[in-house]
């Protein structure tokens, strides 16, 4: 079996698995967020944090809860790292410096999981498990909660109420993420991922570049459990620096495919949740179709550019194998790279910097689209719904009515909020990159010169602002400049959009519904899906065209 065929078969298996999970998981999540029953353990938690899970919140209240919870998360994580040196169970690692602590705290709370540190050389068990792993769950739950609040905005009328953040947060964590991650962790352990609390092992006799005899240090750790939520919650922060390329995290081709499945399954299935909650599963299918077309198109493009790359070495290897694991191959690595950048995961099983010029561009463009195909847990759904609002506004005019989506009018207020949303990430990416390029010192972090060097910086801020977290590799991001700036980009790129999403949700929930007639734009039809794909590609694509031209396009078209 050739590598191309293998890649395609893996893709088919992946799609089959996602399709099987779609309806049960999507419907289950809709039930979780619509149920009026509380589990006993949930009641204890509510009592513990002093929240009343049955109080409905208006959008400002919901937003305050999101921001307060996240702020506490950042502070806690920051302190945990700063105090690591005096905490037990830290494998002897010292405290993390302020800039890097800030960066890492921002990174894990924003579901970005950008890592400017080497996991196995910086973070001990306590920070990894009590700090980072906890945020892996709750940051994903926050994303889903905000998405659900927006969906409620569409589904509800004549009320400003969007649900209760604390209930959404706790349920998302306990009823969806914890059980899902537990099952996934067992599968990963069964397939060879490690799960222990053992210390650092010195293992010897490696080729160190000159001669045999070098040694390596291998950490033990609760890897499988963190790996499971790392993918399932679209986090991406690896236990090890090598992330999913490391055999302890991702031992076999099967676990590789399984991890891709994990990171895609919630974002895709949320479209079902959306459909069920707004009372029309067809509307969910339309959004699913939009996400799936973009994702599949990107996978096809990536496989094409990675397999077709010329040069004798590449052809002998059956494609661009530099930076890819031999056990995964070009096909599976391409699917992983596209999936991780089109979601907010940012886990990597291969090095995006080593992809072909165009391949690197595809990973960047995937993030630049705002990670909406299918996007992060929750953030993908609300991101694409915002784009749907924009597309409906333009297309809705073309059918001769004031635009409306799901029975809600898209007026000046709605379009203002949606427009602010789509402004934020381009502004962050372009301004931070431009300042970094203009200042004298930051470019010293680049490993390469020319277009590839520029791509490293562009990729870093694209990844941070869009809360992806994957790194292009090459760039030394552990400087005060990059730690601080990417940290800011992550926080602004996560919470500013949430402000507008929740304000939009509030505005929609207050409206009275407009009944659908034959004159209404049918947003559940393939025509609308096509339109939405076009709007996403043109509006976000055009924003970044000049920057992409000077990075990956210049490199990819050079040969």
């Amino acid at each position: 079996m050739g590598p191309v065929l293998a890649g395609i078969l893996q893709l088919v298996a992946l799609i089959g698995a996602l399709a099987l999970a779609y309806i049960p998981l999507g419907t289950y999540m809709a039930r979780v967020y619509s149920s009026d029953k509380h589990w006993r353990v949930e009641k204890w938690i509510y009592k513990g944090i002093g929240a009343d899970p049955d109080t409905e919140m208006t959008w400002p209240a919901y937003l305050r809860a999101v921001l307060a919870f996240s702020l506490i998360g950042v502070l806690f994580l920051y302190l945990l790292q700063r105090l690591q040196g005096i905490l037990p169970g830290s494998l002897g690692f010292s405290s993390v410096n302020p800039a890097q602590s800030f960066n890492t705290a921002a990174s894990f709370v924003t579901n970005t999981n950008w890592q400017s540190y080497y996991g196995e050389q910086t973070m001990g068990h306590v920070v990894q498990t009590a700090g980072l792993a906890v945020q892996n769950f709750v940051s994903a739950a926050v994303g889903i909660a905000v998405a659900v609040a927006l969906v409620r905005g569409f589904a509800r009328s004549r009320t400003g109420e969007l649900g209760n953040f604390w209930a959404d947060l706790v349920r998302g964590t306990l009823r969806i993420l914890v059980p899902g991650a537990a099952i996934a962790a067992i599968v990963l352990v069964a397939c060879g991922a490690i799960q222990n609390f053992s210390g650092i092992h010195e293992v010897g006799q490696f080729f160190n570049g000159h001669s045999m005899g070098g040694s390596q240090q291998w950490n033990g750790g609760a890897v499988a459990s963190q790996e499971a939520i790392k993918e399932f919650g679209t986090n991406g922060g690896g236990y090890f620096n090598a992330n999913s390329a490391h055999p302890f995290e991702n031992p076999t081709p099967f676990t590789n495919l399984f991890e891709i499945f994990l990171l895609l399954v919630i974002p895709f299935s949320l479209t079902r949740t959306f459909g069920v909650m707004v009372g029309s599963v067809k509307q969910g299918y339309a959004i699913l179709a939009t996400m799936a077309s973009i994702w599949l198109g990107f996978v096809a493009l990536m496989m094409w550019t990675e397999f077709a790359h010329h040069g004798p070495a590449l052809q002998l290897a059956g494609g661009a194998m530099e930076g890819k694991e031999v056990r995964f191959g070009v096909g599976s690595s391409s699917i992983f790279a596209v999936s991780t950048t089109l979601t907010s995961t940012g886990a990597v099983d291969s090095f995006h910097s080593s992809f072909t010029g165009l391949g690197g561009g595809i990973t960047m463009l995937g993030m630049m689209l705002g990670e909406i195909a299918p996007g992060g847990t929750g953030s993908g759904l609300y991101g694409i719904l915002i784009m749907a609002v924009i597309a409906v506004f333009i297309a809705g005019l073309m059918v001769g009515r004031t635009p409306e989506y799901l029975g809600k009018k898209i007026g000046a207020r709605e379009i203002k909020l949606a427009a602010c949303y789509i402004l934020i990430t381009p502004a962050l990416v372009l301004i931070f990159t431009a300042i970094s390029m203009a200042l004298p010192t930051p470019p010293h972090s680049m490993l390469n010169s020319g277009a590839h060097g520029f791509s490293e910086v562009l990729y870093a801020f694209t990844s941070a602002s869009n809360n992806n977290g994957s790194a292009f590799a090459g760039l030394n991001a552990n400087t005060d400049w990059f730690n601080t700036m990417t940290g800011l980009a992550m926080l602004l790129g996560r919470f500013l959009p949430m402000v507008f999403v929740l304000a939009l949700a509030g505005s929609l929930a207050e409206q009275k519904p407009v009944p659908a007639t034959a004159g209404t734009l049918r947003t559940e039809k393939p025509l609308f899906t096509g339109l939405l794909v076009g709007a996403i590609l043109i509006i976000t694509g055009l924003t970044y065209f000049p920057a992409l031209a000077l990075g990956p396009l210049a490199e990819g078209l050079a040969s």
Binding site: M398, T402, P426, T433, M437, P515, T517, F545
Partner: protein, 710 residues
């Protein structure tokens, strides 16, 4: 019936069942077949509006359109930089085309406004300073029309121009309202009832009336009309505001993309000049729609004015596009003004032809529309030539009166009568005849079918007897069924409003093909219906003219008052139809839709255009440092300068090329949303992707022939 229209008057002389629905009210400037889309555009208007377009270059005016203001600032910048480097032909050329881009945008707006100005001038002529004859107690005093106050009483006699808006409180007069409506036939204005409103600037042709002034000078109907058609009172509509926000945010996005480019380019080893950066920015921001947006709005209002409809706000025009329920008065809108004879039904023992002949003879002296329609039906179905009253010697004509409710003729010893059932039966019995049994059954069958029966009776040597029944029914205007079908496909529900009983209403509703009806409608019923529909999130449009329609007109999202109506109705509605043709509501909805479609289509076109411009400019800027990027030069443009210039020139010319479309509006057909979207996406989306590739290539070819550039 709570509403009446002027139709009852003019149909006296013109009612025939074969007329097209749109020809009932002749107007000075009619659109062909009442379809939206046709608007006049004369290229000469462009030249004429040029001075106005240049006046609009004032930054205080420009800042109102965020997109074009950015272009304006860009033009200033490139001009300044060109002065610093006067030998650079490229900078000068780009500057010139950027200024042209701004002027073209202003031109579009100026042309749109110019069309309203012509109309306003005509109106101003009507508003010459008048002298009012004000009543002070019993004496009359002459005061200037501008000094009238609300509540003043003025007298107008034949030949006087009415000095201000008001209600007739005494007398009846014929008034020439052509100054406002363009309709030369005079109309009757009388005290009391729904035809008491008079408009300042119109002229009394006969009789004497006393008017109570209801509007302050300067706020009269004609003043408001002038400011509306001139666009002076124009405010941005909700959808226009929303679209402006989206365009502004796209402008900011592209501003970011361009503003962050210099450090990237410096790193790549090339320096971008200010002229090039501005050119790139102007090409990317949505200038096409930004330039034409206000022209589209003005032209939309203007299309209504051309159809003699005055919208008091642009908001109402937009709301018209969203309407999902239309309340239509039966009389005058769905049916012709009056009931008409539709068939002759003989009783046992007589023939249809006999009934027809007798009916025609007995109706010759009946000048009501019903009577005329009997004569016409007999002529059309039985070839009975209409006999004139003078033709028959020794005939004694009995004219129809409201008291006898019968008409007829006594000739050659025959007495023929036709009239209301009760009256004719009484007459037959009085003449010693008997009424055939089936006369009663036939009559009630007609009543149940929603019609009105008239009996035809004769007294001759065989005695007095009933010959048969004339079936009078409401005649649905031609083409209404199709029209309602179209509306249904557009997702609009039609509700017929009538004072008829439910039985009659149902029969007519079925025949006309409306979706629903409201029978025995009182103003309260109407109001309740509107509120019910609105509670379900629907937008409601209606027409009305009576004072008791005013609350409903105010409640409806689109309330079209008839110009013949009372001032209360006109005040309550948000549109006034000068032709007083309720059928026009359908056209108003179409114009509203067309306005929104035109905006959407040009926005889509504008955004789709950007793809080609990138393919022209990016390789031009960077192929020198990264030769691989020349692969993006798929248009094979001759040189970097020519590529940038071609994109800028295309960007400017496309505005002028689309001015006619923005004024006329995108072609509109009443089809479902899906079909409409598919069609417009293909033309303006796909077309918008392809057109600039061709346009830029052609301009580049032309530029490359200019020596020293190519």
């Amino acid at each position: 019936m709570t509403t009446r229209t002027e139709k009852s008057e003019d149909s006296m002389s013109t009612a025939t069942p074969t007329r097209a629905p749109h020809s009932d009210v002749p107007t000075g400037h009619k659109a062909p077949e009442g379809r939206v889309g046709a608007g006049l555009f004369d290229p000469k208007q462009l030249l004429k509006s040029l001075p106005e377009a240049c006046r609009k270059l004032d930054p205080r005016v420009m800042v109102k359109s965020p997109v074009m203001f950015v272009v304006w600032v860009g033009s200033v910048l490139t001009t300044v930089f060109s002065f610093k480097d006067p030998g650079d032909w490229f900078g000068w050329t780009i500057s010139a085309w950027l200024w042209l881009t701004v002027i073209f945008a202003n031109l579009a707006e100026a042309v749109a406004e110019g069309r309203g100005k012509a109309q306003a001038d005509t109106l101003r002529k009507a508003k010459t300073d008048t002298v009012a004859r004000r009543l002070a107690g019993d004496t009359e005093e002459q005061v200037p029309g501008t000094e009238l106050r609300i509540g003043d009483l003025v007298v107008c006699e034949a030949g006087d121009v009415i000095p201000g808006d008001g209600d007739v409180i005494e007398g009846v007069a014929s008034v020439d309202e052509s100054a406002i409506t363009g309709e030369s036939a005079p109309v009757i204005r009388e005290s009391g009832g729904d035809r008491s409103a008079v408009t300042g600037g119109t002229k009394v042709l006969s009789d004497r009336i006393v008017i109570r002034i209801t509007t302050r000078p300067g706020e009269t109907f004609i003043d408001r009309m002038i400011s509306l058609v001139e666009g002076a009172a124009r405010q941005k509509t909700p959808n226009e505001i929303a679209l402006n926000i989206l365009l502004a945010s796209l402008t900011v996005v592209f501003l970011l993309a361009v503003a962050t480019l210099p450090p990237f380019a410096n790193y790549a080893g090339t320096h971008l000049t200010m002229v090039v950066l501005v050119a790139l920015l102007v090409c990317l921001i949505p200038t096409t729609i930004g330039a034409l947006l206000s022209a589209i709005g003005i032209a939309g209002m203007d299309r209504l004015v051309q159809r003699n409809v005055l919208a008091m706000s642009g908001r109402a025009v937009e709301a018209a596009g969203d309407v999902s329920t239309l309340l239509l008065d039966k009389t005058g809108t769905i049916t012709l003004g009056n009931r008409q004879a539709s068939e002759f039904v003989p009783v046992r023992g007589t023939t249809e032809a006999e009934v027809a002949d007798a009916a025609q003879l007995s109706s010759l002296a009946d000048e009501t529309p019903e009577g005329r329609s009997v004569v016409v039906l007999a002529k059309e179905t039985y070839g009975l030539r209409e006999r004139h009253q003078g033709e028959l010697a020794h005939a004694e004509w009995i004219a129809f009166t409201a008291q006898t409710r019968m008409s007829g003729v006594d000739v050659d010893g025959r007495k023929i009568r036709k009239g209301a059932t009760g009256s004719v039966i009484a007459w037959v019995q009085e003449q010693g005849g008997t009424v055939a049994d089936d006369a009663g059954t036939l009559s009630s069958a007609i009543s149940q079918a929603g019609g009105t029966p008239l009996l035809v009776a004769v007294k001759d040597d065989q005695g007095a007897r009933v010959l048969g029944v004339i079936h009078l029914k409401d005649v649905v205007k031609d083409g209404m069924r199709e029209r309602f079908g179209e509306l249904r496909r557009m997702g609009i529900k039609t509700v017929m409003i009538t004072g008829d009983n439910p039985l009659t209403a149902k029969a007519i509703a079925e025949e006309a093909g409306v979706d629903d009806f409201l029978a025995e409608a009182t103003p309260e019923d109407k109001m309740a219906l509107i509120k019910r529909e609105q509670a379900g999130g629907k937008l409601v449009a209606m027409t009305g003219d009576g004072t008791n329609d005013a609350p409903a007109l105010a409640q409806a999202d689109v309330g079209v008052a008839m110009n013949t109506g009372t001032s209360a109705a006109k005040e309550a509605g948000n549109m006034v139809d000068l032709d007083s043709n309720p059928t026009k509501l359908i056209e108003i909805v179409e114009i509203g839709k067309q306005l929104l479609i035109t905006r959407g289509a040009l926005t889509t076109f504008s955004i789709a255009n950007d793809v080609a411009k990138y393919f022209a400019i990016i390789p031009a800027l960077f192929a020198a440092v990264y030769p691989g990027l020349d692969k993006l030069n798929i248009m094979h443009l001759s040189s970097p300068d020519s590529a940038i210039l071609s994109a800028v020139v295309f960007n400017a010319l496309i505005i002028i090329a689309l001015v006619p479309l923005s004024l006329k509006g995108v072609q509109y057909r009443p089809v479902s949303a899906d079909k409409m979207l598919r069609r417009n996406l293909t033309i303006y989306g796909i077309g918008g992707l392809i057109a600039p590739f061709l346009g830029i290539k052609i301009i580049d070819l032309l530029i490359s022939f200019i020596p020293g550039i190519g």
